[in-house]
């Protein structure tokens, strides 16, 4: 399908949306659903049907609005573009919300004939109009939770209906793809990415433009693009949200990557624990095929591209790129030595680009707004924004996107709203089982790849779990070591055996049988596993132990009888 036809679809959808006086967005992502968003959206729909009003109101299901701990979340968007957010919207609150936001018109009421069910809803709305509890549910737009964020990847998440291609097009979708196909050479696209300073958001932070450039220069009749959606870090759900709530954005980023490197086929590798993400990505692929966005002659050009979905089966190590490729090939997901890197020998031995979901989801915005625009966000070495899943002992938990260089203090105390109750902040854990714990004394560290690494942690994929004073750090380190023992693939000895030995030592210390030299042994063992393991998983496995030993050594020492 040509660009003109897509433009027509986009304009038609925009015109349809603008006819409404009010649009009520209700978040139906996993967190809000489990808080009862299913009932909320039904009540909103019934109430809109039953309310005596001349207003044209549309109730829309959308993706994550961010503040997951206060769900179900609802946003009312006026024709003027003005928006109000409501939190904890249960059925009762939903009725009051509709009763008070639509213009109440008795003349309209007389004309309407209602079914007995809707009449009952109408009666409840009459009562709801007199209530005064709605104000408590309003989230002020001045909350640091909103003002401190800067959205690039999540810009349209929570606004577009993830199951409607038209809605994505109405939000400027596939414009970036069209731009690269018609105005830019593959080389220019790679250069643009390099200039933007975008680095891999999976954790390692390799410059995306450089990676694409390597694959582009490889001579091969077949090349692949792989989207790494195997978000295995416990405590992280950024990629799940983007895949579920704006799947076309990821697909568009993937296609731009494919054009830049000269690939005509690609795979989404998504973990099996994310069935909705799998459905939505598959739905997006089907819709794109129907509209000529995928397939032969993409958007009427001579570029052809196809994408498939492969589902993981619960193995953390499959987030490692060489393991992931083995898994796509139907084998055990074990990593292999690099080089050769996937850029020269990847899937089935062909040059392959593997990018994380968030990385690719950043691409359309960079192409549309230009590399210079993106490069001015963030710090000197870490450009752009990063999405974090804020969880643990915090008042506001949920999904946030912040410019690189923001301090941990701003994230925890301003966006997160501090630790609830009497407990005190103890540490911020970043990077999952491969990361470390950052104590209160380092809260003014800017969040970027290098600074976090200096602290013995990593940026990781974006899990940020806050721990309060009730958590014992040696036990917390053991929790991660348990994870790594289970998830070690068993191929190399340092990781397979080393993790078990580290855990044994931790058990000994935590059980009060520790000896003073155990802490030194623990450190030596950790350094050994770090320097001799085959893949990134093994090399980073000791991080939680090493970082807690570094910042909370006194907790370990307190557990050793003879040293007290």
């Amino acid at each position: 399908m040509s660009r003109d036809k897509l433009d027509q679809i986009a304009e038609k959808e925009q015109a349809r949306q603008s006819q409404f006086d009010k649009r009520v967005h209700c978040c139906i992502s996993t967190a809000c659903l489990s808080a009862g968003a299913g009932r909320t959206i039904q009540t909103l729909r019934d109430s809109v049907d039953a309310a005596p009003t001349g207003d044209e109101v549309e109730v829309v299901q959308t993706g994550c609005m961010g503040l997951c701990s206060r769900g179900p979340l609802v946003r009312v968007q006026e024709k003027s573009g003005e928006e109000v957010y409501y939190a904890d919207v249960d059925s009762e609150c939903a009725e009051e919300l509709v009763a008070k936001t639509v213009s109440w018109d008795q003349a309209e009421a007389k004309q309407q004939e209602l079914s007995p069910e809707l009449q009952a809803v109408r009666d409840r709305l009459e009562t709801a109009r007199k209530k005064r509890s709605l104000k408590k549910h309003i989230l002020s737009p001045d909350l640091p939770f909103f003002t401190k964020q800067f959205k690039v990847v999540l810009r349209d998440v929570g606004y577009v209906d993830p199951e409607k291609l038209e809605d994505y097009l109405a939000h400027g979708g596939y414009e970036a793809l069209h731009k690269v196909l018609t105005e830019m050479s593959p080389e220019q696209v790679c250069d643009e990415m390099l200039r933007s300073g975008l680095r891999g958001r999976g954790g390692a932070g390799f410059p995306t433009g450089l990676k694409w450039g390597f694959v582009r220069r490889e001579e091969s009749d077949v090349k692949y693009v792989v989207v790494n959606g195997d978000e295995g870090d416990p405590g992280a759900y950024m990629d799940r949200t983007v895949m579920e709530d704006n799947p076309h954005q990821v697909l568009e980023g993937m296609m731009i990557a494919a054009y830049a490197v000269g690939a005509n086929h690609g795979y989404f590798y998504i973990r099996a624990e994310y069935p909705i993400a799998v459905d939505r990505i598959r739905g997006a692929i089907r819709a794109a095929r129907r509209h000529g966005i995928l397939g032969k002659s993409v958007l009427g050009t001579d570029f052809s591209y196809n994408a498939d979905v492969r589902i993981g089966a619960g193995a953390f190590v499959c987030g490692e790129e060489t393991a992931l490729m083995h898994s796509i090939e139907g084998k055990r997901g074990v990593p292999r030595m690099r080089p050769p890197y996937p850029s020269t020998s990847g899937l089935w031995g062909k040059p392959t680009v593997i990018n994380n979901v968030e990385t690719l989801a950043s691409v359309p915005a960079i192409i549309k707004n230009g590399a210079d625009w993106y490069a001015q966000i963030g710090t000197e070495k870490s450009k752009g924004t990063k999405v974090f899943a804020l969880a643990g002992q915090l008042t506001n938990t949920g999904l946030i996107e912040v410019p690189m260089g923001i301090t941990l203090r701003e994230i925890v105390y301003e966006i997160g709203g501090d630790v609830p109750g009497d407990a005190e902040f103890k540490a911020a854990q970043t990077g999952g089982p491969s990361g470390g714990c950052i104590p209160n004394t380092h809260m003014d560290t800017p969040v970027d790849y290098e600074s976090l690494q200096e602290l013995g942690s990593i940026m990781g994929s974006g899990g940020l779990v806050i721990i309060d004073s009730t958590t014992s750090m040696p036990e917390f380190a053991r929790f991660f070591m348990d994870f790594c023992v289970d998830e070690s693939c068993g191929k190399c000895v340092p990781c397979r055996v080393g993790t078990v030995q580290i855990r044994t030592l931790l058990d000994k210390i935590i059980d009060g049988r520790g000896e003073p030299e155990d802490l030194d042994d623990l450190e030596v063992l950790c350094q050994l596993v770090r320097s001799t393991s085959l893949c990134g998983l093994g090399q980073s496995t000791p991080n939680p132990v090493l970082s807690t030993l570094r910042f909370f050594r006194q907790e370990y020492e307190a557990l050793i009888p003879s040293s007290v």
Binding site: T30, L33, S34, G312
Partner: protein, 183 residues
């Protein structure tokens, strides 16, 4: 199955040579991937989805049809946590033990459920009614701690709320059993 469908030719042709119609779905998946060896993981997914677990018989069947050595089929299937080799309970309870859930006390939920059902994690009750398992991270960290009962996510869970939910399901089952015995 073949007897009941004998009057309808169309239905009869669908009956699988093994006598078990569930193999039709599995065959369809293998056919979709042209019986390629590379499709092993997809085929195992399909098999588990259809049969509930991977029996030895199934692994043989897949090995034969994809021309992959049984050792390799077994090696791949056992590598991934998702695949299970025992029949699962009628109901299931999965407790998330991800980082966020861990710091908010998920281990207490696991202990409580293990005590309530008298089974260790990863096992099924003797009557086949309930399976208890844990998950690495369900990605609902904003609502930690989280458990999933029969596919429904329970956010901000406590040992008591989860035990109560499971108790209600078990009570319903007792009623059904009593009725069956009486009837």
């Amino acid at each position: 199955m073949s007897d009941t469908g004998s009057s309808n030719g169309k239905q009869k042709s669908k009956v699988h040579p093994s006598g078990d119609d569930r193999y039709v779905a599995l065959d369809r998946t293998m056919k979709r991937f042209h019986n390629e060896k590379d499709a092993l993981l997809e085929v195992l997914h399909s098999a588990q989805e259809t049969f509930g677990y991977l029996s030895e018989e199934l692994l043989f069947y897949i090995s034969n049809h994809l021309h992959v050595p049984l050792s390799q089929v077994y090696g791949v299937a056992t590598f991934y946590h998702l695949f299970t080799f025992e029949p699962q309970g009628k109901h299931n309870c999965i407790v998330c033990t991800g980082t966020a859930c861990h710091v908010k006390g998920s281990s207490e939920i696991v202990e409580k459920m293990s005590a309530v059902l008298s089974i260790p994690v990863g096992k099924t009750t003797e009557d086949g009614l309930f399976s208890l398992s844990t998950a690495r991270c369900l990605g609902c960290c904003g609502l930690a701690p989280v458990a999933v009962i029969n596919g429904e996510i329970q956010g901000k869970a406590t040992p008591e709320t989860i035990a109560k939910k499971v108790g209600l399901i078990l009570a319903d089952e007792m009623v059904v059993q009593d009725q069956e015995e009486a009837g």
